[in-house]
Amino acid sequence: MTKILRTALALTVVCGVAALALSFVYVVTRERIASEARKELDEALALVFPEGENFTPIDLATLGPIPESKELQFLEAYEAIKGGKRQGIVVKVASTGYGGPIVLLIGVDTEKGTITGIRVLEHQETPGLGSNVAAEPFLSQFLGKPLTSPFTIGEDVQAVSGATISSRAVARACGKVAELLRGERE
């Protein structure tokens, strides 16, 4: 009986000390991790909406009825504010590509009704082919396009060669975001 207790106690002590050490490290690094994540998001937001001075998260539901789609999920939305006035909206969406969801940040100027920027945050596309949808040459095609564009591969957007599905996923995301925000245009 004492042997069982001693054995159990050994594991308890090791677990306790380990957890103590970990929570200590966690407390030390927590702030830093949060600020890194915030910084990363801010940088990405600033890239897709260069004119925005600061960004505040808003509820997606306030943007109107969200377009139904199996292959697309709306994740978050941000207001881009300049000089105390709302200039545009940045939407974070996940669109199903070739290897999994492609998470995109799409910036829209609600006054002009154009796309201001687009950026791939996460993807699992084939390296060397599908991964090229995250690169400038493909994404810059969308810059400045009006919300009324069809966003169809082969018509107004050229697909990355060898990666039609990945390209279509990005175009679809833009199309749906445009559909959502068309009503927002003042």
Binding site: K3, I4, L5, T7, A8, L9, A10, L11, T12, V13, V14, C15, G16, A18, A19, L20, L22, S23, F24, Y26, V27, R30
Partner: protein, 274 residues
């Protein structure tokens, strides 16, 4: 942020798991061979499976029973090998040096040759052919891969029978020839006097009789003869238990095809008689 909550939580988890493990380990203890435990203690215990056996305990069992060599653990490397050899060397009762033994007497003039083979002189190549140039599907092809692979020059091909002869003086029991042989007819056996069936054919007796005059025809006369009950017929092959055998030699005399042989302590030369 409270840093004591996780400590207590994980500590409790540890306590619960520790109690469970210690309790069950005691309650459900299964007695194991002390030698196996001894070997397992020397093995790395990483349970990585790199040796090809299921975990360190799996390898320990195989080493204890002599089915695996003490250098089988690639993680432990030479150091563990040395320690294991020392352990096994001291307990000489349960550990014996191994030697390679060919379980086939079907040489030239004894086993039928049904076709002329003119391909590469390589057992593996000949074994890949759908049909065998020797009548027997199980017997030695006699093309000498084992001779080539032996690092100690302990094997040579007999000029008359074209069967490999293993010199137990030179053989170290490294098992290279065992791994090389595509027909799996070379095995490692303890180095001592013993009686063994020198045929691995699974063909029915009638077939064997046609193909080879020294093959096991499954008559099971030896099973009935053995006074110790050491011989059994399992899964289509005759098995002689080394533990029960008293080397009385009755089965060797009785075997109608002379496929049970007595192997000496010094050499594994199969006496191929006409």
């Amino acid at each position: 942020m409270n840093i004591f909550l996780p400590t207590i939580l994980v500590g409790t988890l540890g306590l619960a798991f520790g109690l469970m493990l210690a309790f069950f380990a005691k309650k459900f203890a299964v007695p194991t061979n002390p030698l196996v435990q001894e070997i397992e203690r020397l093995l790395p215990g990483a349970n990585c499976g790199a040796c090809g056996f299921p975990g360190c305990s799996g390898l320990a069992e195989k080493i204890a029973s002599g089915e695996a060599s003490p250098n089988a653990c690639p993680v432990g490397g030479p150091r563990v090998w040395a320690e294991l050899s020392r352990l096994l060397g001291q307990e000489s009762g349960s550990w014996e040096a191994k030697r390679a033994l060919l379980l086939c007497q079907g040489g030239e003039g004894i086993a039928q040759t049904v076709a002329e083979y003119e391909g590469v002189a390589d057992c593996k190549a000949a074994h890949l052919l759908p049909a065998s140039f020797k009548g027997c599907r199980f017997g030695c092809l006699g093309l000498g891969n084992c001779v080539k692979v032996c690092p100690f020059g302990a094997i040579h091909l007999d000029t008359e029978s074209h069967l490999p002869v293993i010199d137990w003086e030179k053989c170290t029991g490294c098992g290279k020839c065992v791994a090389e042989c595509p027909r799996n007819i070379i095995t490692l056996v303890p180095k001592r006097e013993q009686v063994t069936v020198a045929c691995v054919s699974l063909d029915p007796g009638k077939e064997v009789r046609k193909l080879c005059s020294r093959g096991c025809i499954k008559c099971q006369l030896c099973v009935r003869t053995c006074p110790e009950g050491a011989i059994t017929f399992e899964n289509g092959r005759i098995v002689i238990s080394r533990e029960k055998c008293t080397l009385c030699g009755l089965c060797v005399e009785k075997c109608p095809t002379h496929c049970i042989i007595r192997v000496g302590e010094k050499l594994a030369l199969l006496e191929v008689k006409g």
